[in-house]
Amino acid sequence: MQIADRSTVMNIEKVIFGFFIILALTLNFGFVMGEISDPEHHNVYEFFAVIVVNFIAMGLKLGDRSQIGALLLATSLVAVLQLISAAVVWTVAVHVTQTGLSPGVTASIVSLAGGALLANIVSVVMLVADTLMSGR
């Protein structure tokens, strides 16, 4: 019997891991897309999905003791922090101060989400680089 070459075996864990990290980036990108101060261009459900997927991505990165794992976790923490800040701004504007989604508020929410987007890009670049470097 031949020992299977590891590169030919698809690892379901790697698939889920990659899926959520890339989904976090794509959703984030989709939310940020559009006129920065126009609330019509930024959907609340999409924003919810971005937060949930980023949390899941962070959860998946926990417990990896490798050097690259530590950096991946750090990027996720940054993204989650930025998105929570954006969510807090949104909640305060709509429910606490009752100002609603004025262009200024929308711009600040989207710019915070844009920061998270950058962190997610770094995360995906590192993931791809690590996969290529491992040589299989």
Binding site: V52, L62, G63
Partner: protein
């Protein structure tokens, strides 16, 4: 696989354990939230409306934690109520799962071990001064640790037995002694104990098992080639094996003990001095023990009994052994052995009525005490030496009417303590043993006069740039500094500090009982016996060139620049010699 980061083990275990609960919580919250927002509801006026994410999150926060404030901000529709039921059950189960995982982690033995190791390693790193690693916290280990602590030195303990580590935590040491319950022969535990640290002075292997001791010695030597290794070794074979590792100090408890006992019998004065120097309680220089000469009965002929007989025979003493199992005694003449357990008959057969002394040296404390009582009832005057195997039986032995209690663990611990703290003391005692008694009497008289009744304190003074910078400075100026000079009292240089120099190590030679006029050279090591106060005063003088200069020359040189200028001019005027 990428190389592991320095993220330590405890954090890694926590993160890995929390991964699943966190993912479950995120998923459950996401499903419950989106469902709550999508369920058709009504606002205060009764118009169809959806709940906002904020209100849904608020609702879920108090529902999931089973607080329950009611239907906020508006009364729910039935559709919302159906979803609220689902939310409640799935979120409460998710929370229970998360909490159970945390509790499971805290109770996980691997996690507890990892936390203990980290706490231990951190405790070791916090020790700022030189320290010793004691592997094995049995009787000898605990006595050694106590001795090190009494001498103001730091120690770190590793023992396999959790009970011993618990016992360590209850000891009232002045310094904190970190303890780890682990196998000391595993390199990772030795590293956690700081074997690679430049502050680690020595590794002492004192476990019950010879094989483990040898393993510890090998590991310690490999991990840190410059560290000192002391290894307890009861078998000759392993002792030879240790030779090949190189520079490992072997301590054989039976040999050490046999030497101690023969000293007690044939050099009682030296024995008293040794015990007194090691700080044994109740020993003064005034009352040496004087055991009688004649036939000695040895009860028990195990490893200890064989060594004892050898050392007694070396002094030409006639011995009779009593043992139920004559292993190793086949070639002894019949009149020198009695087969059987020690009791009235066998003691009589061994000639207890005419014997000078009895040594109860079996490895059972109750047997030894029984032998002592039987022997005493048969012969009131016989000198009885009894072996105490376990430190915990101390009170019973103190109450017993023995002439000498020998406690191998205590003797071993003391000899290792000498080896670690004052390496020059053993050669000094050996020197006294070889030379005639008059020298010993002189030493004892001098110690008695100098120290009066205060307990002895041994210390080593290094004449090096680092330990005694003042000496180096004055020597560079051409002063000759003698042993006597550094022993002068800064309050009155005609008086001497309460200390006696016992040995001087100079350029590879060891000079015993150095002359007071002996001049010091850089790199010398001097072993003093005196009071802690004397050491403090002496150390202060060795670090202060002005004090030392006064001690050497009897003149106080001005310190300030101006006064020094004036003083340099003065000799031309009134010719006060500044230098000898």
């Amino acid at each position: 696989m990428a190389k592991t980061s320095d993220l330590d083990r405890v954090t890694a275990i926590v993160l890995r354990f929390m991964r699943a609960p966190i993912l479950v919580l995120v998923a459950v919250y996401a499903i419950a939230l989106i469902g709550m927002v999508l369920m058709p509801g009504r606002d205060a006026a009764g118009n169809p409306a959806h709940m906002s994410f904020f209100h849904a999150f608020y609702f879920l926060t108090y529902t999931a934690t089973t607080t329950g404030f009611g239907e906020l901000p508006h009364p729910f529709t039935d559709a919302q109520r159906v979803w609220a039921i689902i939310c409640l059950y799935i979120s409460v189960v998710a929370w229970l799962y998360a909490v159970a995982s945390i509790i499971g982690l805290v109770r996980n033995p691997h996690f507890i071990q990892a936390v203990a190791e980290r706490r231990f390693a951190r405790g070791v790193r916090r020790i700022a001064e030189p320290f010793f690693i004691v592997c094995g916290f049995g009787d000898t280990g605990s006595l050694l640790t106590r001795g090190l602590d009494d001498a103001g030195r730091s120690a770190v303990v590793i023992d396999r037995d959790p009970e011993r580590i618990k016992a360590l935590a209850l000891r009232d040491y002045r310094k904190t002694v970190p303890g780890l319950c682990a196998d000391a022969s595993a390199p990772s535990h030795l590293i956690a104990a700081g074997v690679k640290s430049p502050r680690c002075e020595a590794v002492v292997a004192l476990t019950q098992d010879d094989e483990i001791n040898v393993k510890i010695a090998v590991m310690a030597r490999l991990l840190n080639p410059s560290v000192r290794v002391v290894c307890l070794s009861t078998s000759l074979l392993r002792g030879e094996y240790l030779e090949t590792i190189g520079s490992v100090d072997k301590v054989n408890p039976f040999d050490t003990f046999a030497k101690w006992l023969s000293t007690a019998l044939y050099a009682p004065l030296l024995h008293t001095l040794t015990d007194w120097l090691s700080g044994a309680r109740g020993v003064t220089l005034h009352n040496p023990l004087c055991p009688p000469m004649g036939t000695w009965i040895l009860c028990g002929y195990g490893r200890m009994g064989q060594r004892l007989r050898k050392s007694l025979r070396a002094h030409g003493v006639h011995t009779v052994i009593i043992d139920p199992d004559m292993e190793g005694a086949e070639d002894l003449p019949d009149e020198e052995k009695v087969l059987g357990y020690t009791n009235r008959e066998t003691l009589r057969a061994a000639g207890i009525e005419q014997a000078a002394g009895v040594v109860a040296a079996t490895d059972s404390d109750s047997d030894n005490l029984g032998i002592m009582l039987t022997a005493r009832s048969l012969n009131r005057k016989v000198c009885i030496i009894v072996r105490q195997n376990h430190h915990e039986n101390q009170l019973a032995f103190n109450a017993a009417d023995a002439d000498l209690i020998m406690q191998p663990s205590l003797v071993t611990a003391r000899s290792i303590l000498f080896l670690l703290l004052s390496p020059l003391i053993q050669p000094f005692l050996d020197y006294l043993r070889q030379h005639h008694a008059t020298l010993l009497v002189d030493v004892i008289r001098e110690l008695r006069e100098t120290l009066a009744d205060s307990p002895p304190y041994l210390w080593t003074t290094w004449i090096t740039e680092a330990h005694a910078p003042a000496v180096a400075m004055l020597q560079a100026q051409g002063h000759v500094i003698t042993v006597q000079d550094i022993m002068r009292d800064p309050l009155d240089r005609e008086r001497r500090l309460a200390c006696v120099p016992l040995a001087l190590q100079q350029g590879g030679n060891t000079i015993m009982k150095p002359e007071y006029k002996k001049d010091l050279r850089p790199g010398d090591e001097i072993l003093f016996c005196g009071t802690p106060h004397a050491q403090r005063v002496m150390d202060a003088a060795l670090n202060n060139r002005y004090t030392l200069q006064y001690l050497v020359t009897g003149l106080q040189e001005p310190r300030g620049y101006l006064m020094r200028r004036l003083a340099h001019r003065r000799p031309q005027r009134d010719a006060v010699p500044l230098q000898r």
